[in-house]
């Protein structure tokens, strides 16, 4: 879990990363789900918020938590644990919601989606040359939304493609 001061620190880091966006290596935000570590392109990250209650959307998959009022925009919030069919964890004010900008397939429109994760770790520079392709797990694990694997200070981090992970089709 992440404390609110840490959140502020990460938010300031985010701002810094956004301003340095023209550097050669790509910047990734890393976060954890239980013992697993994931990375997403920092370009997609709009902000990091703590959990607020949402409005349920009836008859949608369980990983769609509901709708959130984000400064008068009504956005869906997705629970990544449930999306990956991991055990549900109760939400509390220290639960983290990453607000992401998701492109459609043609990259012509953008949607804003909230992603519930256990904790945000850090913002890292990742050299794309070091990224290894994800092994094929066949039917066991859907890897279409895993862009590749990298190692950060000895830990394996799965780099996610949020455009595929959170596409309209994937959320239906």
């Amino acid at each position: 879990m992440t404390s609110s001061t840490e959140l502020q620190y990460l938010d300031s880091l985010l701002e810094e990363e956004h301003t340095n966006a023209d550097q050669v290596t790509q910047h990734y935000l890393t976060f954890s789900l239980g013992e697993e570590h994931y990375g997403i392109e920092i370009q997609c990250v709009q902000e990091i918020r703590s959990w607020e209650s949402v409005t349920l959307i009836p008859n949608t998959p369980d990983y769609i938590c509901g709708l959130l009022n984000l400064r008068s925009a009504i956005i869906p919030v997705v629970d990544l644990r449930l999306r990956f069919e991991m055990a549900k964890k109760d939400y509390n004010p220290t639960t983290v919601v990453i607000i992401l900008k998701v492109n459609n397939e043609q990259r012509s429109t953008q949607r804003t989606v909230g992603l519930v994760v256990d904790a945000v770790s850090d913002a890292d520079n990742i050299n794309l040359g070091e990224m290894k392709p994800s092994p094929d797990f066949g039917e066991h694990v859907d890897t279409t939304y895993i862009r590749g694997l990298v190692s950060i200070s000895g830990q394996m981090v799965m780099i996610l493609d949020v455009d595929i992970l959170l596409s309209v089709e994937a959320l239906a």
Partner: protein, 539 residues
């Protein structure tokens, strides 16, 4: 072609280049230096519904004539025989010649508002003097002689106006939230805050007014043509009628305006047919031979009110009741006020339902009738000022709040459990006005775990859509207010049973129920696998 025509053509380019040159030199300039002065050949072939959609070719041509020298000629080849002519359809196409320092984009921009309703060809003229339209000069003169002087204007896409309108709608909501909060702060502590909020309130409301004005037109666009329509009808029926109007400057949303035109035509048609008596009948009861039909429009609490009143015979209340009983809309034993009976004419099976109330409901509007036998009838139409703002009823189902468009609601009452009729253990019916309507248990439909155990004290909200009635079982009715409809598709996708979502006064999101979708959901239960399931057995 004659020499005379060639001269006209050259004159045009002379004026555009503001030079006096011999004929051949003028032509040379156009060809050598096209960046300066270009002659454009424009063929504008609008679709037949152009005029019905409220666009005026004259206005387009006036806009073009501000860019450069314009010549207009009409192609009336598609004009049908007089007997087949639909006065509201557009059969004409135009050939325009425009010269001046004009880019293709500038011309296209002028036609942008009607882009979807026309075929447009914009090409650079090969030869400035190639013209065979001998009506050019005359038409050109006509168009320049009808100067409807207007304030300078720009064409803005409706989408952009709509986006701005949405933002202002939200601003108004934010403002009301702030002012709600400020009430909890002692004004002695923060006088500046309350002052600032009052100012914000004024600005937000002013802004909303301006936005609404941007996408609105006065109702006079309809009121001006209806008297003619009525006169034509009355001549055919031998009835005499005098049409008066008031409030014709009342502005309403262009989309609403388009929808209301047909409804009003249907309404005045039935007034002439059934409401007004023949001159002889009128004389017999001591009325003047000529009947009166009055149209009035007004703003009322965020709505447009349109009243259509006549001094005719009034509605035949006993006959309406008789028909309603025959159609099974009401039972013979039911006690109804004359007002209730009169408003049955908007129920399915009566022609006023198809022609007036159904299309009106679809637009978020409603209609009511009041009539006194022998004295006359008044129809009152209520329409939302803007399509995106609706009057809504907040309902509570389990621990969730939903919003229901007020126009969909017919009645609501506490459910009497002994009146529930089970159907093969799966469905439930409830008696309502001589009919049996299905009960839609919203908590089951939405897979919510019920917070109330029994059915006692729960409410049945009777809704109607497309002639079908249903009772929505809810836990409680909360406040009524205006809400701004937000599409779910902006950041998510369509959800069956909901037409959108709105942000409530306390900042939370509430889904807006879509009755048609709810009925589909009811008929095809569990379109998705059940989940979040503590799907407790309600009741």
């Amino acid at each position: 072609m004659t020499d005379n025509e060639t001269n006209q053509e050259i004159e045009a380019s002379d004026i555009a280049t503001k030079q006096t040159l011999p004929e051949n030199q003028a032509e040379a300039i156009e060809q050598d230096d096209p960046a300066e002065t270009v002659v454009w050949d424009i063929i504008f072939s609008p679709s037949s519904e152009l005029l019905q959609l409220g666009s005026e070719p004259v206005q387009l041509f006036q806009a073009l004539s501000t860019l450069g020298e314009l010549k207009v000629s009409i192609d009336d080849a598609k004009l049908p025989a007089f007997s087949e002519l639909d006065p509201t359809a557009c059969y004409l196409s135009w050939h325009l010649t425009l010269s001046g320092e004009i880019s293709e984009q500038q011309i296209k921009a002028v036609f942008e508002p009607v882009e979807a309703q026309c075929e447009l060809s914009v090409e650079r003229s090969i030869s400035a003097s190639s013209d065979e339209h001998d009506t050019d000069a005359k038409v050109n003169q006509e168009s320049s002689q009808s100067p409807i002087m207007k304030a300078p204007s720009i064409a803005v896409e409706m989408d952009k106006v709509q986006a701005l309108a949405n933002l202002v709608g939200e601003l108004v909501l934010t403002q009301s939230m702030l002012s709600h909060l400020s009430e909890q702060v002692p004004p002695t502590l923060l006088p500046k805050l309350t002052e600032g909020i009052a100012q914000l309130d004024r600005h937000a409301r002013d802004m909303q007014k301006v936005i609404i004005q941007m996408s609105t037109l006065p109702i006079s666009t309809i009121f001006d043509v209806l008297p003619k329509y009525v006169q034509d009808l009355s001549q055919a029926s031998g009835k005499k009628v005098n049409v008066t109007t008031s409030g014709e400057q009342t502005e309403l949303d262009k989309i609403v305006l388009e929808g209301i035109r047909n409804i009003l035509e249907n309404l005045v048609q039935s007034v002439l047919e059934y409401g007004l008596e023949s001159p002889e009948q009128r004389q017999q009861v001591g009325k003047s031979e000529t009947g009166t039909l009055h149209l009035n429009a007004d703003h009322q609490a965020g709505h447009i009110i349109i009243e259509v009143s006549d001094d005719g015979a009034g509605l035949d209340t006993p006959n309406i009741l008789q028909k309603a009983i025959e159609k099974g809309l009401v039972s013979a034993t039911e006690k109804l006020s004359p007002h209730d009976i009169q408003n049955l004419i908007f129920e399915p099976g009566f022609s006023a339902a198809d022609k007036v109330s159904d299309p009106l409901n679809k637009m978020g509007g409603s209609v009511e009738v009041a009539s006194i036998a022998g004295r006359g009838t008044m129809f009152t139409l209520r329409l939302p000022l803007m399509m995106r703002i609706i009057d809504a009823q907040t309902i509570k189902v389990a621990d969730q709040y939903y919003v229901l468009p007020l126009t969909a609601i017919i009645d609501s009452f506490e459910i009497d459990t002994k009146d529930i009729k089970p159907v093969s253990g799966k469905a439930e019916l409830y008696p309502f006005r001589g009919d049996y309507i299905p009960i839609l248990r919203l908590d089951k439909l939405f897979n919510l775990s019920p917070t109330m155990t029994g059915l006692e004290q729960r409410l049945l909200v009777v809704v109607a859509v497309q002639g079908q009635k249903a009772g929505l079982l809810v836990d409680d009715l909360m406040s009524q207010q205006q809400v701004v409809i937000n599409s779910l598709e902006t950041d998510y996708q369509k959800v069956l049973g909901f037409s959108g979502a709105t942000i409530m006064g306390n900042g939370t999101v509430a889904l807006i129920l879509d009755i048609v979708g709810l009925m589909t959901l009811y008929k095809t239960p569990n379109p998705l696998k059940p989940y979040k399931s503590d799907r407790g057995s309600a009741g």
